[in-house]
């Protein structure tokens, strides 16, 4: 059976300790939290870090979901299950619950972390698209301080981020703005599978005019997990079915998927448009306080608005 290659192991007791260990152990040291991205790569021996720095003891510092300074703030060590269980998070951004409900499986969600998902930068990772749609800021800590990077700027490409060798992702900040609604729609071949394609939308309305929108795309080769052309089409326009269709077409055109066993690229390109339209409709319905129509099967959109919504 698969086993990792040997490595040294350190257990960080604080964020500063983790960073000092990264500095001390050099570029072949990696942080490990939930381990559900890194350990499988290590078992296949596709990843061979010399050291692992275990940050699971940092839950007191980095596991939280709170509202501060008009932002929803999610600590990097927050487990997927915690985010899914958070009425605070779901109340502000239903997209978080839509996405978390379809990330891996419940037991994996008990272990995998928000920070780990961002850091892994897997092109099929759902939260990357969610944070792109929500126009979140990722906070990165080093020994010299904390810097914020827009979620849309954190990825250099598949499995590559701007996070430096002695830096760590510590927090996600999502601005809370009135008039918003959000949704995430994903097609998967089976429960727990990676996305064939998915789209997340955060929309803000003034009456029936779209004042701002973020569209995130998963697994369809969209640079930075977003669809700026489609967003530009929508901003400042009143909602109409034609507009939604046009936005879907733009998202589809913007995508650049590759063919694999989840489907040929033409199908995924179709899904980029189809799922963007579905998420857009659902997000608008939520922003308007309506309940969206039911969605069938595995294209899962949350069925109703959630409690505790803060305007």
């Amino acid at each position: 059976m698969q086993t990792p290659a040997p490595f040294g192991y350190e257990r960080a007791t604080s964020v500063n300790h983790a960073i000092s260990l990264l500095e001390k152990l050099g570029p072949e040291a990696r942080l490990v939290a939930g381990g559900h991205s890194l350990l499988p790569m290590m078992k296949l021996r596709l990843a061979r870090p010399e050291y692992l720095i275990d940050i699971n003891d940092l839950v007191d510092d980095l596991s939280y979901i709170k509202v501060e300074d008009g932002e929803l703030r999610i600590g990097a060590m927050t487990r997927h299950a915690q985010l899914l269980g958070s009425t605070l998070a779901g109340g502000h951004y239903a997209i978080l619950h839509d996405a978390e409900r379809v990330i891996a499986d419940p037991v994996v969600r008990n272990r995998g972390t928000v920070g780990g998902s961002i850091g892994q930068a897997d092109p099929s990772e759902d939260l990357s698209a969610v944070f792109s749609a929500a126009k979140a800021t990722i906070m990165i800590t080093s020994s010299t301080g904390v810097r914020g990077v827009a979620a849309r700027d954190i990825h250099n490409g598949p499995y590559e981020t701007v996070v430096g060798e002695a830096e760590m992702i510590t927090e996600v900040r999502i601005p809370i703005r009135p008039g918003g609604g959000s949704a995430y729609t994903k097609v998967e071949r089976r429960a727990g599978d990676w996305a064939v394609a998915a789209s997340g939308v955060c929309v803000w309305l003034d009456g029936d005019v779209i004042t701002d929108v973020g569209i995130g795309l998963t697994a369809v080769g969209a640079a930075h997990f977003c669809a700026p052309d489609a967003e530009a089409l929508l901003i400042g326009k009143p909602i109409s079915e034609e507009l939604i269709e046009a936005a879907g077409a733009a998202a589809s055109a913007h995508s650049s998927p590759s063919t694999d066993q989840r489907g040929p690229k033409e199908y995924k390109r179709h899904l980029a448009g189809e799922l963007t339209k579905r998420s857009l409709r659902a997000a608008i319905a939520r922003a308007q306080g309506r309940t969206p129509g039911s969605n069938t099967a595995q294209s899962k959109t949350a069925q109703s608005n959630v409690e505790g919504k803060v305007a």
Partner: protein, 158 residues
Amino acid sequence: MEVNLTVNGEPMKTDIEPRVLLVHAIRDHLGLTGTHWGCDTSNCGACVVHLDGVPVKSCTVLGVMAEGRNVDTVEGLEGPNGLDPIQTGFMECHGLQCGFCTPGMMMVTKALLQHTPNPTEHEIREAISGQLCRCTGYDGIVKSIQWAASHQNQEVSA
């Protein structure tokens, strides 16, 4: 590395390389073979144990990560007064055939019923959606969990 942990309420100690997966630490080093290994990729759930009360896939956790923590395995389900209702439920409702996925299924059930004492069928199916079974078609498992939910706090011997 020396690892001190509590397994099913008993303090235990083992000396393992940092790379040893928790599933191997439990099976090969602590000798508790009730927890199974099935897939390498954390898809099948045969290796689920509780780490500080939370179900995890022990093939994707390092043994050293359990230092100072509580690990609960299938061997700890049976109490002094007999089987856990989950175990009885699996027997009553034919929730197992070959028995290989069963420990993981029951450990996930344990956590489910702690948080959701009266789960709906959908909640049950979702809770075990990271656990593969090749024998039962999940039908007997779902019924077993329903049985257990309706017989909580009853330990019976079998």
